[in-house]
Symmetry: C2
Subunit: 337 residues, 2 copies
């Protein structure tokens, strides 16, 4: 958990607006699927009993609400978009945890580890379908559903690339950034524009907000990849060096492997071999840093934050929302979990 | 493969219309995902080389095309609906094969068995997103997408129930029929009405066609459940007695267990224990028949075929399409694979 004082107000404000709508949407699931979904979201235990705290940061719902406000509408207009994007995000987490074999998320067993692969697959599928249902019942829902579906398709393509990269020897930084643009950028681009779409804002406005979100997504992923190696397991809820152990081709690792520096060859050999033990993870971590994978990725985070902020300057959006979008972007890049 | 002469013309006609559009839609996937999808469809091997024959019967695309014609429009209007429904059907097959642990489909290894669980999950996800994209780009696509999304959600809920039933001792025939209505009926109901929706037919017409499809789905599932026990493995492509081995709660099995006849207790004990060997499968098959599970299910198939045909009488639809819909329903119930 991040201390509340570090969080921009919009995260709390959007959570207060989106959570009841999300809960209402989940009521449409069968009891079994609803219990899995609320467990996954950190709202309940597996018996459906309410648990304290829990839940993610809620960056996506916040973007959806601000996006409506940016388009000079009431933030509530963006709420169904926030619900839909959050459902798609959680569908992808449910499936990614199976694919990556991750047994822990937010300090608790992942759904597949707790109730089995089959129910976890079906629960993810159910959230994806529910997201579409929520949007298609709204005014201007068809345009918003198109925005969401295109983002979902791009996210899935990014996930397919991510899987393929794990067994591919040669992955360039260009490949890696394209994968991240799909896997993370597309849905954040959708989140940051879907409220404006629901508000009927002009396409130039929605387009600028989408670009802001897409670059924010790349900055977000860069920070995620840094935390995946150097993050504090206590704060991230993931084991230390998880990405190196899984031979994931994240930005710092790919940048190091492609750096042409001497240590890159040793790193390449280590990652081509079998599983790494704790000592090897420590050595590999050092090698990534020696090859400037850490600084390269930190620079990417800064560069894409900058591009995100500049996208907001392209159009005349509500200045209050503008400031909150900028603050949120800075928060995302400076977070430590 | 079923001999071509047994197939109603509409299956060939719809396949000729829908296959190129389906192929065009698949072009939007990444190469890796497209190769998995075309392998799953039986169009290619895993290297992307075209393979002879292959593919399912294509009942759903045929329904979509006839549905447009029933609504007094050109069959082509229904083609995007046929593509979308076929994509959703295949998304569900990809995921169901993982969930059920099925290693063989249409005489070939299932996708998860051939390339792994992760890629099979992602390929299913990709087909589900693609189905929505295809529809949302059509005229009247939003209404069609609502029809598809509601059916998809119902199908997923049915799949969740199906999983839950396997470990639940008490499943009534009512539970079982409700599960089949979701798992099979909803998508067939959508297939049979989506063309009319795309054609802008009145809701009464679309509703009658949806009811026809939903009952046809139950008849279809009843036949599927009969073939799952008594089908010829050579023709079905599935191992003999697969449903009994997997302790699936299909219609004949549930009807037998709920029959109150003496042999039901022995059957219940067998299915409560561990895996069945060949001899036990033979005994269990006999017990299901002795408890009239077979005749009960055959009667359900007939009854729902009848209800499907009567739904068509409720509205004034194109008589040519009416006859083809009736023929298709009869074919589905009389098929042997």
């Amino acid at each position: 958990m991040i201390p509340t004082q570090a969080m921009p107000d919009i995260l709390t404000r959007a959570r207060d607006a989106v959570t009841p709508a999300l809960a209402a949407a989940l009521e449409r699931l069968t009891p079994d699927l609803r219990r899995i979904a609320t467990y996954h979201l950190g709202w309940t235990d597996l018996d459906g009993q309410v648990t304290p705290g829990g839940g993610g940061k809620g960056v996506r719902p916040a973007l959806a609400v601000l996006s409506a406000e940016a388009g000079w509408a009431d933030g509530d207009i963006g709420v169904p978009g926030g619900v839909a994007v959050e459902l798609i995000h959680n569908f992808s987490l449910l499936h990614d945890d199976i694919i990556d074999g991750d047994r822990t998320r937010r300090h608790r067993p992942t759904v597949w580890a707790a109730v089995g692969v089959g129910p976890a697959i079906v629960a993810g599928d159910a959230l994806m379908a529910l997201a579409q249902q929520v949007l298609l019942e709204c005014p201007r829902g068809a345009a918003a559903a198109r925005c969401l579906t295109d983002a979902t398709a791009a996210m899935i393509a990014g996930q397919a690339d991510d899987i393929a990269f794990e067994s591919r020897r040669e992955v360039t930084v260009t490949d890696c950034m394209a994968m991240s643009a799909g896997k993370t950028g597309a849905l954040l681009g959708c989140a940051a524009s879907i409220g404006a779409v629901l508000a009927g804002a002009p396409e130039t406005t929605a387009g600028a907000l989408r670009d802001y979100g897409a670059h924010l997504g790349l900055a977000f992923q860069a920070v995620d990849d840094l935390l995946g190696i150097w993050g504090d397991p206590e704060r991230t809820g993931k084991p230390a060096g998880a990405d190196l152990r899984q031979h994931k081709k994240t930005m710092p690792i790919v940048a190091a492997l492609c750096s042409g520096c001497e240590e890159a060859q040793e790193l390449g050999r280590m990652l081509a071999d079998g599983p790494l033990d704790d000592e090897q993870v420590e050595r590999a971590t050092w090698l990534v840093e020696a090859c400037e994978g850490r600084s390269w990725t930190a620079n990417q985070a800064k560069a894409h934050l900058d591009k995100a902020l500049r996208a907001l300057e392209r159009v005349r959006i509500n200045p209050m929302a503008h400031r909150e979008l900028a603050d949120l972007a800075t928060f995302v890049v400076e977070r430590e979990s």
